[in-house]
């Protein structure tokens, strides 16, 4: 017996008698051939009481510097937005936390209705008519959209803007290598997709094109122009897929209004914590014609035998447990609890709040860029006429890692090392700075002071060293 099992010696005897064996070991001996029985204890530490486990995990947590401990301007795909208390409270409710996937709808109406509401919220945000109930997270959502496009038109090429998150491009490449589609990358100009190169890259064998809104560099794309170009490039237009940042969709033109066919993305910024990268959720919305090829669970409305409104998992003939080898995706477990956090967060933000928050992010991002660009040895990586939202790229005239280290000594994480993420020559010296509503003007001013000083010190020490 451990503290999570309940078999007393009396239970054991009664149970073994009922089974008709002398011991539990006897069952294993009958079932598992001798050569593959372990026959020794696992080489793992002994179990610990609850309070000891807590202390161990707390000690590990203390060896991490979190956004609680420093002023954090890291973003690049996950952001330190505020998660309201009611999200935590609802996620911790047993009734949401501990059920399995709602295979028995009569006793799962809570979860199914949450999925239905979530789908509605995602459709509203993206201005696309259909959404599933979540996929794993952002980059794999991009790759799944690629697989759907491949099933849709059977073509052999993906055209990908370099403005996509590098993890999305990498994940798409991994998946596409499996199902045999070539990936072609289109370069950027001033942080957004080079429209001429984009147009030139698309041919009749292009299954799908991908861009990000905003781009990985925080720059706002002309999504409508990219979609229109893709659709007019050949007589056999590709599926247009956009990775979008959901929290900017209060003020940015939504993908559905820009000619996008499939909008996917990372849902973390909607009420999910950072968690060192997961779990969060991916969202997946599309035009109607893709409904029966979409991956993942979909909740649908119906009625019960007495005419009551109710919800079920629907269109399951797409899914692996029904269609097996012919399924439109292999996904089974996805991110229901994180999607719950997403729809609760969006309800909390509300119709007006998502616009207000978007404007605040836009204004603060603009302020931060204006404040930092022009510090000695610091300049905007892209043209200042290029609009940015929530994030922007700087070029430091000093070693980025060393500057970041100096800032860390002052309790500031100034942002992500761009070159480390993209490996692109033009990103050398690049720093990607993210602004959330938790970073006030005072925080931004402090960043300017510390970053400016760090760059100056680093340049000085480099000069001395040289």
């Amino acid at each position: 017996m451990s503290r999570y099992t309940a078999t007393t010696p009396a239970d054991l005897k009664a149970m073994l008698d009922a089974i008709g064996v002398g011991s539990v070991e006897e069952i294993f001996e009958q079932q598992i051939p001798e050569p593959v029985r372990l026959g020794r204890p696992l080489d793992l530490p002994a179990g610990l009481p609850e309070q000891d486990v807590y202390e161990h995990l707390r000690a590990l947590a203390q060896r991490n510097v979190s956004a609680e401990d420093e002023l954090c301007f890291l973003g690049a795909g996950m952001y330190d937005h505020y998660v309201p208390a009611l999200v935590d409270m609802l996620m911790e409710r047993s009734e949401f936390l501990t059920p399995y996937t709602p295979y028995q709808p009569e006793i799962s109406q809570g979860g199914l209705q949450v999925m239905f509401e979530y789908q509605t919220a995602i459709c509203e945000l993206t201005a696309l008519p259909v959404s599933n109930a979540s996929v794993y997270e952002g980059p794999s959502a991009v790759a799944s959209a690629g697989y759907m496009a491949r099933l849709h038109n059977g073509r052999g090429r993906f055209v990908v803007s370099a403005g996509l998150h590098p993890h999305s491009i990498a994940t798409l490449r991994t998946y596409a290598h499996g199902f045999g589609v070539e990936v072609v990358e289109v370069p950027l100009r001033e942080g957004v997709t080079d429209l001429d190169a984009w147009l030139a890259a698309i041919d009749e064998n292009t299954a799908a094109v991908f861009f990000a809104q905003p781009s990985f560099y925080g720059a706002v794309e002309d999504a409508a122009a990219l979609s229109a170009a893709a659709k007019s490039a050949t007589d056999k237009p590709p599926v247009v897929i956009a990775q979008v940042d959901p929290l900017t969709l209060g003020i940015l033109a939504p993908p559905g209004d820009c000619g996008v066919d499939v909008a996917v993305g990372e849902g973390q910024s909607l009420g999910n914590r950072l968690d060192f990268g997961g779990p969060s959720f991916g969202f997946f919305a599309a035009r109607e014609e893709f409904l029966r090829r979409m991956p993942g669970r979909i909740a649908g409305e119906t009625t019960d035998v007495d005419g009551r409104r109710g919800f079920v998992l629907t269109l399951q003939t797409r899914e692996q447990h029904i269609r097996r080898a012919k399924a439109t995706s292999n996904i089974c477990t996805s991110q229901a609890l994180n999607a719950l956090a997403g729809v609760v967060y969006l309800s909390w933000l509300g119709r007006e709040g998502i616009v207000e928050l978007g404007e605040l992010l836009l204004a603060r991002t603009h302020y931060a860029l204006q404040t930092l660009d022009g510090l000695e040895g610091v300049q905007a990586l892209h043209s200042r006429t290029q609009p940015v939202i929530r994030e922007f790229a700087l070029r430091l005239d000093a070693d980025v890692a060393a500057v970041r280290e100096r800032c860390a000594q002052h309790g500031i994480n100034p942002g992500a090392d761009l070159y480390a993420l993209t490996g692109r020559e033009q990103d050398r010296g690049g720093l990607l700075v993210a602004i959330t509503e938790r970073r006030t003007r005072a925080d931004i001013d402090r960043l300017a002071d510390v970053l400016g000083a760090a760059v100056a010190s680093e340049r000085q020490s480099q000069a001395v060293g040289a």
Binding site: I27, L38, S66, P279, S347
Partner: protein, 532 residues
């Protein structure tokens, strides 16, 4: 949900007054005789149908930077014309809406959940507490490894533990769920063969396999070849020998399989598969049967995925999050996804991104770290002995429940719901509802729906596909003998009731927030969002 489940997760006999239907009636209860439960009277209203224009829960932080005309920052053609029609509700309205919704769910904390293949074991609340510590929960995934040493050490320790449990030395925690781990595994197999200059096209999966196996094979660009099951419930070796050749890249296997049976020929199977140069993949969905007792690596498997949300008790959240780490043998290790956690001679941890032969990334960042924290806490709590105890107790509970059912004489459950294969089982067993359907006119679905009125989550139904009217039962180590007894009693009571009047179960459930739902209509004319 509203069903009056006793503390142990069920009730031994249905109490008619709580169900609005008399179990002693001979005819089917008509709708008029049914009294609605409070939750049934409550109409389903979505959050979008609540609230009023102008209501809100969010108070935006003040604009503390100089005001700039927003249109100079973002041109009109890039802007959204009308805001998304998100709900307009106050904070109290949100709380009340979702708390009430939650009561329309059945959950593991409320009762027995013997869903086969899903390992619905207790989720200790300690795990939620430690995962919520800011040092874990607010740690940014791009934090410098030097300032995330606690997280990397935790991941390293979890990798080492999973390596020991599986008997395979190299682990990647990255995949997001079991199916994602499968995709990783098949892509690793592809990379392994490609590196040796071979192009193989086929992957074998038994007809008892989880649907994710063949779906993954297709997604990874291979052709699925199904293997037959022999009369004992294992792989048909003759069929395997007939289908295995140098064009086979991999055999994907669950062991114990979805019948709850350990394949006695596993060593021979591994020899046959390796004999043609193919890899052997272990679907770890059923690992809860053998932790500390038998290891996939020792059975000859090259690649295994774990479901942290099954064997290692990550709460399932109504359909995720999950986490599907993989462990592999030496020959597969060079192809593991990036980044890989490394430890230097001084004990410092880092993330290695450049690996020549890696298949690349399967997702963003490092995986579902929040799940790693919980799984690691579980392993720390149980240790070697506790993990073995978990598996032994899970197997004991499954066999006890099986015996209780098979020994039942009033009615003879074994005649209506015979065990599909074997005599004993490991962590789960599969009954066939075929005789029940023929003799009592009750389908497995009806039995499942009637169990809802008894306060139980039903077992997995209609899987595996090769068993007629399948009922797949996995009690897990969590349950007490009293709960198992109550469940066996409920099955017997339903069968007795059906012998009297099968209409009762055919129209069940009666006590749930809604009754049977029209799934055909839902699929025919999909309504998948609130009309606004």
């Amino acid at each position: 949900m509203s069903t009056p489940a006793a503390d142990h997760g069920g009730v031994s006999e249905p109490a008619a007054d709580h169900r609005g239907v008399s179990t002693s009636t001979t005819g089917p209860p008509s709708g008029a005789e049914l009294s609605e439960t409070p939750l049934q009277r409550e109409a389903a209203v979505t959050i979008f149908e609540r609230g009023a224009a102008g209501r809100r829960a969010f108070q935006c932080p003040a604009l503390d930077v100089p005001e700039v005309d927003p249109h100079t920052l973002l041109a009109a053609h890039l802007r959204r014309a009308t805001p998304p029609a998100l709900p307009e509700v106050s904070e109290p309205e949100i709380v009340r809406h979702y708390v009430r919704l939650s009561k329309r769910n059945f959950d593991l904390d409320s009762g027995f959940y013997p869903l086969g293949s899903c390992t619905m074991k207790h989720n200790p609340r300690l795990h939620e507490r430690v995962a919520a510590l800011p040092g874990h929960a607010r740690l940014h995934p791009l934090q410098d490894p030097a300032r995330a040493q606690g997280a990397l050490e935790l991941m390293w320790n979890l990798e080492r533990a999973l390596a020991e449990i599986s008997g395979l030395p190299h682990v990647s925690l990255q995949p997001s769920a079991g199916s994602h781990g499968e995709l990783a595994g098949v892509l690793l197999t592809r990379a392994y063969h490609e590196q040796r200059g071979e192009t193989r096209h086929k992957v074998l999966t038994p007809d008892t396999s989880h649907g994710t196996n063949p779906a993954t094979v297709t997604m990874a660009g291979f052709e699925v070849v199904a293997l037959a099951t022999n009369p004992d419930g294992g792989i048909d070796l003759q069929d395997l020998r007939a289908k295995v050749d140098s064009d086979v890249a991999c055999l994907m296997l669950t062991n114990p399989n979805t019948l709850g049976l350990f394949d006695p020929n596993i060593v021979e199977i591994a020899e046959i598969v390796h004999g043609v140069g193919a890899t052997l993949y272990y679907d770890g969905a059923n690992l809860n049967a053998v932790m500390g007792l038998s290891r996939p690596g020792d059975m000859g498997f090259d690649i295994v995925h774990f479901n942290l949300h099954k064997s290692f008790t990550q709460p399932h959240g109504g359909g995720g999050p999950g986490s599907g780490p993989i462990a592999v043998s030496e020959r597969i290790a060079p192809y593991l996804p990036v980044p890989v956690i490394v430890r230097d001679a001084d004990g410092r941890f880092d993330l290695e991104h450049d690996r020549l032969h890696s298949i690349g990334r399967l997702r963003g960042f490092q995986g579902n770290y929040g799940c790693f924290v919980r799984a690691y806490a579980y392993i720390c709590s149980l240790g070697a002995e506790g993990l073995k105890d978990a598996s032994q107790t899970a197997v004991l509970n499954a066999n006890y429940l099986l015996a209780r059912l098979m020994n039942e004489t009033h009615p003879p459950v074994a005649e209506y719901l015979p065990l599909a294969y074997g005599q004993l089982c490991l962590h789960e067993f599969v009954l066939s509802g075929g005789p029940m359907k023929r003799e009592l006119g009750l389908k497995t679905l009806d039995l499942a729906k009637r169990l809802l009125d008894h306060g139980f989550h039903p077992p997995t139904v209609y899987f595996p596909l090769l068993v007629e009217e399948a009922l797949m039962v996995e009690p897990t180590e969590t349950e007490t003998r009293e709960t198992l007894d109550a469940f066996a009693d409920a099955i017997a009571a339903i069968l007795r009731e059906a012998a009297e009047d099968p209409e009762i179960a055919r129209n069940a459930p009666y006590t749930t927030p809604v009754r049977r739902l029209d799934e055909v209509a839902a699929a025919k004319h999909p309504v998948i969002r609130q009309a606004l």
